[in-house]
Symmetry: C2
Subunit: 209 residues, 2 copies
């Protein structure tokens, strides 16, 4: 069974892929609007993690709509959700995709797909949508991340990664100027995966501890 994991190069989507790996053939999928080379950035990280990777082109109109939403709302939540829902829909419409996963955690407030939205996508396309970290709190995720990944963390404007926010910030910068970004995006800590600590099964690694 193959699972397509929406992949930003951050710790959550990386850990989601690692948790699925013993049970699925994992392919990482990074969405892009081709505003910035986020596909390439993610491809490098995916290679370091040892997973297959592909780039999924999303409609530029979705990013434009998301941009309008951020500016109208004054915060990015609805815009990020719009992009995420669109990404899952796009993957689900691919006839070869059966399992779709993301890195959403229990405590995440954005992106989050509501249950009715998830069920609608699952039913219309005959796919399964998985959030392997949905039952994990922040501290548990961090504990597992520290065992499996070497990460870099920093303020969201200093970390180059391949999440939805990266291209959303860029289109806002182009259209509304740099100051607008700090006005609508609350500063928050982002993570970028440097490498995987061990390709070996954790229990095998334990034996060598």
């Amino acid at each position: 069974m193959q699972v397509s994991v929406l992949f930003s190069g951050g710790k959550d989507s990386s850990l989601a892929a690692i948790l699925l790996e013993p049970f699925f053939d994992v392919e990482l999928v990074t969405c892009t609007f081709s505003v910035l080379p986020v596909g390439e950035i993610a491809r490098e990280t995916a290679a370091r993690l040892g997973f297959a990777h592909r780039v999924l082109q999303l409609e530029r109109s979705v990013l434009e709509k998301a941009c309008d939403l951020v500016i109208g709302d004054g915060f990015p939540r609805n815009a990020i959700n719009l992009i995420h829902e669109n990404a899952v829909e796009e993957l689900a419409a691919d006839g070869h995709v059966c399992f779709i996963a993301d890195g959403i955690r229990r405590d995440d407030r954005v992106p989050v797909l509501g249950i009715p939205c998830i069920r609608s996508i699952e039913d219309r396309h005959g796919v399964h949508y998985l959030s392997p970290l949905k039952g994990y709190g922040r501290a548990a995720v961090n504990e597992l991340v520290s065992r499996h990944l070497l990460i870099e963390e920093g303020q969201s404007d200093s970390i180059i990664k391949a999440d939805y926010e990266t291209e959303l910030r860029e289109i806002i910068r182009k259209r509304h100027g740099l100051e607008k970004i700090s006005e609508v995006f609350p500063a928050h800590i982002q993570s970028r995966v440097i490498e995987r600590k061990s390709q070996a099964r954790p229990e095998q690694a334990d034996r060598h501890d």
Copy 2:
């Protein structure tokens, strides 16, 4: 890292343990009020799954309170939640336990612990509470179960397992008679695990397909 998985002998808690196995040392924990030999039933299933197992004795007063709740409410939801919360609290209070898991799925309505309740337990006891199936819908769980487990399914009054409902039904039968059970417990399909389909890693199994 050890994880203690609350285990009923059903497919959900069994699958939760299987999903955690590559990343944790799994011990299965079955709660009992010693009204019925549910610990023994679960121990046999755990042995067939190849996991360590222990029985956790819960206070009889909790079952009695749960019984009063079912009778008062006319449905078992709050009673089952009370027992589950008590089981997680009891495990969390064990100084040796750091990760606690259960088999709650995305679509489950009972038992469910609310986020504030989970955070309270995590913070007070310094533990992590995991629901590995929380991001999996019913169909995805069934797909994984069919790959990893041989199960028996039947109406809830015909399947002998080690879930909270088993002893709750028994105390209601003793106190209020057999008819009361069908009055307050909606008939539903239960599962019991017969055996594990493969002890090998799924990707290893795939190679032999």
